[in-house]
C-alpha cells in the first residue's frame, strides 16, 4: 500500500518548484507533506482498515446530519461526527491522518450520534478507534492532547480503576469555567452534603488490594495498554513500572512472611 501511494505520487505531472513546497490540498494547507508523513498516513490507514471494528462500525452515510445536530462538541468546536464518518469512509490516508491530529479529540464520547444515526453507524466507536491509533502510533498531537491526563492515568493504573475528585486538576480544563478551581477547593464539605450514603472520601474511591493491583498491571501489560501508553508518555510508564516493581517485592515478602506460596 505504501509503495502504491508513492508510485501515485511519482506519476503526478511535474510541478513548479514553489508548488512542490506547497502542502497537500488534502491537508488543508496546514502541514508539510514529506515522504515520512505519507508513509505514516499509509501505515495508520492500513491499521485502521484492518481493525475488525472498522467493518462493523462504518456502514454507509446518507449525510443527513442528525449526528452533528445532537453533538455537544459540534456546538463548541470545529468538529462534526458526520465529517468524522466521512473521513473514515474516505479511503484517503492523508485525510484520515489530518483528522487524527486534532479533530477526533473534540469528541466527548457521549454516543448521542450513535443514538441518532439512522444508518446504524457506530460513529463514536470509530472515533475511539482513531484515538487508539493516534496513541499507538505516538502522534505528537496525541501526546499534547493527553498531557493533562497523565496524573489521572498514573492513579488509575497504580491505584486500581478509580478516579477521585482530588486527582483532577482544574487548571488544565479551561472549558470548565473560571469557578472550577474555587468550587473544587472544599470537596470534603461538599461531599458531606450528599444526602445518600456514600464513602466520604475525595482522594480515592476505595482501597484496592495489592494482589488485585498487580493482576491489573499484568492485564494492562498483556493487552498492550502499557505499550500504547509508552508511545505517548514513556516517563509515565517508567514511573508506573517502578511503583509496581516495589509492590511486587513487598508482595513477595508478605507471601514469605505468612507462608503463602
Amino acid at each position: 500500500m505504501v509503495v502504491e501511494a508513492l508510485s501515485v505520487l511519482r506519476n503526478l505531472p511535474a510541478r513548479k518548484k514553489e508548488e512542490q513546497a506547497e502542502p497537500s490540498m488534502l491537508l488543508g494547507g496546514s502541514r508539510d507533506l514529506g515522504l515520512d508523513t505519507l508513509k505514516l498516513a499509509q501505515d495508520i490507514y492500513d491499521q485502521f482498515t484492518a481493525d475488525p471494528r472498522y467493518k462493523e462500525y462504518v456502514l454507509g452515510c446518507l449525510n443527513c446530519g442528525e449526528c452533528t445536530t445532537g453533538c455537544p462538541a459540534a456546538r463548541f468546536y470545529d468538529f462534526s461526527p458526520r465529517e468524522m464518518l466521512q473521513v473514515a469512509m474516505s479511503n484517503d490516508p492523508l485525510v484520515l491522518l489530518n483528522a487524527m491530529h486534532e479533530k477526533i479529540w473534540a469528541c466527548c464520547q457521549c454516543y448521542t450520534c450513535n443514538m441518532r444515526c439512522r444508518f446504524g453507524n457506530d460513529i463514536a466507536g470509530i472515533i475511539s478507534v482513531m484515538r487508539e491509533l493516534a496513541v499507538k502510533n505516538g502522534l505528537d498531537s496525541a501526546k499534547e492532547v493527553l498531557r493533562p491526563y497523565t496524573r489521572i492515568l498514573l492513579k488509575v493504573m497504580t491505584g486500581g480503576t478509580q478516579v477521585s475528585p482530588d486527582m483532577i486538576q482544574p487548571d488544565f480544563f479551561v472549558d470548565w469555567g473560571p469557578d472550577a478551581v474555587s468550587k473544587a477547593s472544599d470537596l470534603k464539605t461538599l461531599r458531606k452534603a450528599i444526602p445518600i450514603d456514600v464513602l466520604q472520601v475525595t482522594d480515592s474511591a476505595w482501597e484496592v488490594s495489592m494482589q488485585t493491583s498487580l493482576e491489573l498491571f499484568q492485564i494492562y501489560q498483556e493487552s498492550g495498554v502499557i505499550d500504547m501508553v509508552r508511545a505517548v508518555d514513556p516517563d509515565l510508564v517508567e514511573m508506573i513500572t517502578d511503583i509496581v516493581d516495589e509492590w511486587r517485592e513487598e508482595f513477595e515478602e508478605m507471601k514469605e512472611k505468612y507462608g503463602v506460596r
Binding site: 446518507l62 452533528t68 439512522r118 446504524g120
Partner: protein, 357 residues
C-alpha cells in the same frame, strides 16, 4: 358459461380501478370495504390537492367512485373478510358486515387492494410529535389544508414560518423502515406550494437529505416550487425539536452544505410520515396465506415481471399493498390485476368444462 365471480378487497384507488374494469368486462364483482365510503386512505384522511397537477382529491377520486357505483359492482361497505379458504372449486370467503352478520361467497379469483397506513411519528420521540401541538404529521396537515384552516394548534394563530422534515419513518434503520416512501418529497413540496399559494406571507422551509421527485415531478413540483412559490430548501435533517421561549418550536439541524449546526425557530413543523403496510393488508395476507416481503408488504410473485401476482395462485394484488405508490400507479395496477384475475377465472372455467365433458 356463467360470469366469473371475483372479489376485490379494498375500495381505494387500486380497488376501485380493478372493480370498474372487471365489471366492464362482464364479471360479477364484489367490492369489500371496511370504511363506510369508497375512496380509500386519500378520502379517509381528507387529502387536499394531489400532485403534480394540484387537483383536489375529489376531482381525482369521485369519477372512479361514480363509475364503480354505476357499473353494477356489488359494493359491501363497513365490511371485512372474516374467513378465507381456497379449494378446488374456488375461494370460500365469509364477509362480516359491521354489526355481526356473516355472508358466504365463493369466488373464482381475488384481488387484494388493501393499501397502506401512514407511519406513526410518536415512535420518533426526538421530533416532538404528541409533545408539542405545533408538530404535525402528513394526515394532520393535509386535513388542515383541505379544510382551509391553517392555524397553529397551540394558539390558533396563523403561522409565519413552517418547516417540513422529510423521511420520518422511512430510510431509517432505527425504526426498522429501511425503504423510501416515494411520496414524502413530492407531498411535502406540494403542501408548501399550497401554503404559499393561499398565504404568500408564510415562509416555508423543507429540510431534506435527498429530494426524490422522480420523473415529471421534478419540474412540475420541485422546480416550480422554487421558481413560482419561493419554497426554501435546507440540506440537512432536523435532529431534535425544542420549545423556544416564545412558545415557538426550535428546530436543531445541521446544514450539511454549510457544514454547521443550526437552530431555527418555526411556528409549525410538518413531519413527512412514511408509508407502511396497513393493518388490513397484514391481516388479509395472513388470512389468505400470502407471503410478505422483507418490508412487511405483500410479496409479488416476481417483482419485475409478475408484479400483481401473489404467492398464492388465483389471488392478485394491486396498489400500495405491495409497497409505497402514487395514486396513478395504484390505478394502473388495479387495471393490471383486473386483467390477471379475469384471465385466471376464465382459464379455470374452461378447465372445469373440459373436466365435466
Amino acid at each position: 358459461m356463467s360470469s366469473p365471480r371475483i372479489l376485490v378487497v379494498g375500495g381505494g384507488p387500486a380497488g376501485l380501478s380493478a372493480a370498474w374494469d372487471l365489471a366492464e368486462a362482464g364479471a360479477n364483482v364484489v367490492l369489500v370495504e371496511e370504511e363506510g365510503f369508497l375512496g380509500g386512505t386519500p378520502k379517509k384522511l381528507h387529502y387536499s390537492l394531489i400532485a403534480p397537477d394540484l387537483k383536489p382529491v375529489q376531482e381525482v377520486l369521485d369519477p372512479l367512485v361514480r363509475r364503480v357505483e354505476q357499473s353494477g359492482v356489488e359494493v359491501m361497505l363497513n365490511s371485512e373478510v372474516a374467513s378465507f379458504k381456497g379449494s378446488g372449486d374456488g375461494f370460500h370467503v365469509e364477509v362480516r358486515r359491521k354489526g355481526g352478520s356473516l355472508e358466504s361467497h365463493v369466488f373464482d379469483s381475488v384481488i387484494a387492494a388493501t393499501g397502506f397506513a401512514h407511519w406513526d411519528p410518536h415512535k420518533k420521540y426526538e421530533y416532538g410529535y404528541g409533545v408539542y401541538p405545533d408538530v404535525l404529521d402528513f394526515k394532520d396537515f393535509e386535513r388542515m389544508l383541505s379544510e382551509d384552516n391553517l392555524r397553529r394548534p397551540s394558539n390558533g394563530e396563523t403561522p409565519k414560518r413552517i418547516a417540513w422534515l422529510l423521511c420520518v419513518g422511512s430510510r431509517d434503520k432505527q425504526v426498522g423502515k429501511f425503504y423510501c416512501c416515494r411520496m414524502g418529497c413530492v407531498v411535502s413540496i406540494k403542501q408548501a406550494m399550497e401554503v404559499r399559494q393561499k398565504h404568500p406571507e408564510i415562509d416555508t422551509y423543507v429540510y431534506y437529505m435527498d429530494i426524490r421527485t422522480y420523473g415529471f415531478w421534478e419540474d412540475k413540483v420541485y422546480w416550480r416550487s422554487m421558481e413560482e412559490f419561493n419554497v426554501k430548501f435546507v440540506r440537512g435533517r432536523i435532529g431534535s425539536i425544542n420549545r423556544g421561549e416564545d412558545g415557538r418550536l426550535v428546530a436543531m439541524a445541521e446544514d450539511t452544505i454549510l457544514q454547521r449546526p443550526t437552530e431555527v425557530p418555526f411556528d409549525m413543523l410538518v413531519l413527512a410520515t412514511g408509508m407502511e403496510a396497513s393493518r388490513g393488508t397484514v391481516e388479509f395476507a395472513k388470512l389468505a396465506g400470502l407471503e410478505l416481503e422483507e418490508h412487511g408488504f405483500i410479496k409479488p410473485l416476481q417483482s419485475d415481471s409478475l408484479p400483481v401476482h401473489t404467492t398464492v395462485e388465483g389471488i392478485f394484488v394491486a396498489g400500495t399493498a405491495t409497497g409505497p405508490k402514487a395514486i396513478p400507479d395504484s390505478v394502473s395496477e388495479g387495471s393490471a390485476a383486473a386483467m390477471k384475475a379475469l384471465n385466471f377465472a376464465r382459464r379455470k372455467a374452461v378447465a372445469e368444462r373440459q373436466q365435466t365433458r
